[in-house]
């Protein structure tokens, strides 16, 4: 049994400690905002925060996450009004939307680290997140908009 603190709430889960956190969050706890895309840390759809750092939950085990502060898209802001979420709507970023939780979590970790990122900072932080609809130009615009507080 492991205790996972997700979005401030403790959850006791009965799983093999080697289980990827992704499957526990999604399929056991049914917090489905975090998405499965590749299972090998190539696409970023499963990105969450572990103690504030953006990590791929498909490559993070329950053992690694236990005792740490886990944040998912559902916990990014209590009303879904994180500046990035507001900017995502203002710039009409999502198309199919499947990768966007991961995009937002990567972007949120970037802004927490660098409140005023350059274009290069954004590209470096975001190039691990694939969007097959290719909403990249709008993602970039939305991150800048959020950084500028508009």
């Amino acid at each position: 049994m492991a205790t996972l603190v997700i979005n401030g709430k403790p959850h006791n889960v009965e799983v093999d400690p080697a289980t990827p956190l992704l499957w526990v969050i999604r399929e056991r706890l049914q917090m489905t905002g975090t998405k499965f895309g590749c299972g090998v840390a190539q696409c970023g759809a499963c990105t969450i925060h572990l103690d504030g750092q953006a990590v791929r939950s498909c490559q993070t085990t329950v053992a690694q996450a236990a005792g740490k502060k886990i944040t998912t898209i559902e916990g990014l802001h209590p009303e879904g009004r994180h500046p990035l979420q507001v900017a995502w709507i203002a710039e009409q970023v999502p198309q199919c939307g499947y990768c966007q939780s991961g995009q937002l979590m990567s972007a949120a970790a970037l802004l927490a680290r660098k409140p005023n990122p350059t274009d290069q900072d954004i590209v470096e932080a975001m190039s691990g997140n694939i969007c097959r609809c290719a909403t990249y130009p709008r993602i970039k615009r939305a991150i800048k908009r959020a950084a500028q507080g508009v």
Partner: protein
Amino acid sequence: MKAELTRRAFLASTAAAGVGLTIRLSLTGGPSDAAAAAQWDPSTALTITPDGIVTVHITKAEMGQGVGTALAQIVAEELEAEWKDVRIDYPIADPKFGLMLTGGSWSINWTFDTLSRAGAAARLALVDAAAQSWKVNAADCMAERGVVRHLPSGRSIRYGDLVAKVPITKTFTEDELKKVPLKKPAEYKIVGQWIQRLDIPEKTNGKAKFGIDTFLPGMVYAKVAYPPTREGGKHTAVDDSAAKKVKGYVATVNLPQLIAVVATSYEAAVKARDALKVTWDAGPHADVSTETIFASFAQAKDDPGAQAWHEQGDVKAAMGGAAKRHEATYTTDYVAHMQMEPMNCVAHLDNGVYHLYTGSQFQTFAVGSLAAVLGTDAKNIRLHQHYLGGGFGRRLEPDIMVETALIARAAKRPVKFIRSREEDLRRDFYRSATLQVVKAGLGADGKIVAWDNVLVASHPGKRWGPDFVDKKGLDQFALNGADHVYDIPNQIVRAVPVETGMSVGYVRAVAPNYTFFAVETFMDELAKLAGQDPLEYRLSMLSGAPRLVRVLKLVAERAGWGTPLPANTGRGLACVSAQEKKTPTWTASVVQARVDPATGVVQIEKVTCAVDCGIVVNPDGARAQIEGSILFGISNALKERGTVAKGALVQSNFHDYQVLRMNEVPEVEVHLIPSTEYPTGLGEPGTTTVAPALSNAIFAATGARVRQVPLLPDRVLAAIRAKA
């Protein structure tokens, strides 16, 4: 399946621009007979409730196009609804909705007229009801922003109150519906407006529900053991003794069609499946490889029995009399969908009724296929539609639903089946690899007098069945685009369908990806041969396509066509009538690219695109579609190469099947032509312009002609060296 989807319905729908077969024409809901009605359904397209909320029922798949918002705008415009009162939902598949199919950039084109009429007729019925209740002349009443007003007296009533309190009795025959007067584009207040998409807020907070987000009580997880080859493999023996020892193992499902295990969790199902010892008969395609496939294509191109798909004039005579002749061979590789949400489904057999939870682009086909495979009536198939985590044509296929339903029936409990990315890619229905040989004869003035194109590809429609190919056995969706719009008096396009053992399907922008690659690259080659500028050369042969001339001129001007560029940098253009010649979205792009002559590495600096799609329903959504389709095209053109060995795709995940990432995105500039013409579609045409415009830009930059897509560095380098 055939009863569900007749050839007539399919072909009529695909052929008829603006003729709405996707939603029934007649108002089927009938009168709301009593006071305090719970809701009013003037047609299958919409429902109005006493609270004034107008719900537009979206029978097109939402896979990122924002189609729900756009279709709701069309209804709301003619209904005179207040936009803030408009909602959308995605109903369970039902024959009453007609052909449920989302693809081909057809959604707006097929429904604009029908949904306009559905909205207008509902408005007229509401006005009529109000006039009757007031005992006044309906002609003295008008509807605006969700309210009916009697102009002489100033009385008014909201739509919701009408539904709640007043019998609404007016109905329309199909003929009457066709005659309902519609607004002129100048009168539009909602169509053409920058309206935010209704699906976007829940796609920013994790609440949007995709098929993969489904949970049912008592649900177990399935994993299928797939054969080593894409087609024709079969399991001959199965030893599940080790699988049974896996904690969480529930059952082995051994059917003629598949072998699977179910377990209490996804991880347990993976472990148990991996513990199966399956003996395979790899089938007849175990030795198929990229090399054998292209060797078979090279043979097929000379097939004397090749069928003419498009023909006019006398090519042989004109070619014989030409002043100059030119021939080129173009090839393209397999392309995978790589939609972000791996294929998945939840299935539950409950009292003889199958409930399927997933996202489908082709519910009509899925329901028919499921009914046929499961041996049940179509009315026992309930397909619960969800958001699609990318479609791009992948979710036209019902394969995941069929497999999950079979497993759920055998396992006797609700089953969730999620393919891994590796399985998703290996079990994909790819865009066919192709080989095209194009020949042309030029007159003394450089104009093209003869055009001869042989197109070798696998045709997806063959697998789908006789309803999806023409009398010659050809799938028009494997050929569209080869019948381009240039003024060439003598033309022939011959098609050679080839079976390879690699399952092919429809991938975003479908055939026009490879047909326009050949046509538009060859046009550039011919311009060179004629000693003319590629832009002027095209413009001189487009007398039948004035709207294409306009976008071509606009894009050239905005891209700075003809202005100087640094060394090793060039501009190339392409113009298309995609997706289909009968319902074209006139699209032209200029790609500006820099080539490193030492490595062959190509850097796209900018893409400028001009589009005339007629009326634009949602301008920001339209721009998003064009931007995305261009970038999808760049991904296809620069990076994506599916290769084959031992009868299966070699690539397995995003590390070896790479798609475009943010660090590779150039500037994309989009110009939409204002228009009042009947609307066509936007999801795909932009994609088709990229590969030819890029190949032409590489030629402009280096003088080297690359005739293979993707335009990989080693191919560019080889072309540069061949030139030297």
